[in-house]
Amino acid sequence: MARTFEEWEKPLKDLEEGIEKLKVLAGRERDDGKRTEANVRIGELEIRRDKYVDAMYCQLSPWDTVLVARAQARPYSLDYAAAIFDGFVELQGDRNYGADFAIVGGPAKFNDQSIMFVGHQKGRSIQERQLRNFGYARPEGYRKAIRLFEMAERFRLPVVTFIDTPGADAGVEAEKRGISEAIAASMMKMFELTVPIISVIIGEGGSGGAIGIGAANKVLMLEHSIYSVIAPEGCAAILWRRPELAAQAAAALRLTPQSALELGLIDGIIPEPKGGAHRDIPLAAQNLKFAIEHAMADLSKCSPIDLRDSRYQRFRKMGF
């Protein structure tokens, strides 16, 4: 199997480092001729880099998409929230047992409208990754989400959720506190709401943990995200008893945005900057914002009851 994202992007990283070094050198160069020469060389390298990015990203295999979707370099929920919301106030606690940092949420302004934001959150530093349980949400995370969904309904706030999790926590403690019930109850709460709900898969849409906050009126996926019933490694292990066949499983599971759109299971794909969201986070956020504005405008035409009933119908027609 399977190179890592870092191995995969190494040639690109080398090229970019070369360009940076040359730029520094060119900046220091006093001789006009030599500087021009260096700038020409930089231009050539930049073209090579762009071609390389094009070649790498123009036909990603499903497994490549898995690697990109999981990449630590990718923007996470709070990165996007900071870019597209104003005045976000994070609220914590399920008012029952504890705090979970793998799901974040709270009210914020989207343009001039108050909304309720809920999203999975992975960590970057080792400490933060541990704090956020590597994005594996615990029952308390889903019960906090339920609390926020209820608040959204009470105060008539449209809900925006960002999905980015390898799956829900499957440990003994999570099981003891009812991770399955928490996921099911969170979905059920979403089906009760009469405010608009928009969900965007921004990275990893990992099975039950993902759909737990994904029962929305509009479901969108970023171009290099994935959405799957099971991790490809798990699928390969169970079906073929060979986890190393993850790349084949990724293809068989059809977990890419394009496949999900073809199957009629999502409403749209949000384009990412050339070479992935991590290469230009402001542009990625701008695209995301535009897509949410669009979805919000669509849903604002619906009555509260229609919002609930059309959400039911959206999932009702899937499969049969």
């Binding site: 829900a168 003891k176 019930e181 799957s228 199957l263 039911y312």
Partner: protein, 289 residues
Amino acid sequence: MSSPKHPNDGSFLQCAGCKKILFVAEFEELNKVCPHCGHHHRLGAKRRIDSIFDPESFVELDQDLRSGNPLDFPDYDEKRLAAEEKTGTFDSIICGFAQLDGQRVSVAVADFSFMGGSMGSVAGEKITRTLERAAETKVPAIVFCASGGARMQEGLLSLMQMAKTTAAAQLCRRNHVPYIAVFTDPTMAGVLASYASIADVILAEPKATVGFAGLRVSKQAGVGKVPDDFQTAEFGLASGMIDRIVHRKELKSTLSNLVNLLGSSLEEAVDLPVRKSNHKKTVGASAHG
């Protein structure tokens, strides 16, 4: 809780729990419960229906629903056809209406022997229709769960069945219709994390496996040691996730009593308008928040 082993031509078998040798006739008479240790062996859907509902009262619906291979998943057609051959049904759920001591109920029963009872688009559809029929006709719903989880071979379509069935369970709530789930061995993953866990009442058979992820995954994820009864009905009961563990011989009377207790005032519940969509499917009440 695998099926019992047959050490001979078929008049005896060995209990999967205590390993004692049992008479097949007696074992079948007890609906596959060991007379010595009480081990509950898995029961097929048809046997289950016979053991619970009034004789001849079950009317099967949607039996023609049959899955295709929407993802062209490798080997899926072969596996599904083999399961059809083995079980004589088109998928892992049998559903319809039945009577329980004369009380009408909308029922769905899972059969683990059809691809591990996994939930793809057909199982999801049948569960959804069962719950919708309950909500619309105002009769209680009873669902017997037995599933390893979502069916991988239908990919994201299977995941979406979690949302779809959950929405239908919500419809029962909104329409004041009782929904009772029975966890039999095993009730896992995508099924447990959707319609199964949000029933009004959750019963379980003794020692049934009940859990979110396979034991290996949980062991990897958990830091501490795994308790001996981890992911059993007894663990679920102790954790507050299950209402009662009921011996198979008492399931019928318990269910009948619950249907009577919870369902007898249904006529008095607010009669909510049920809106039909232009689909062949129907959508639920819309006038109540």
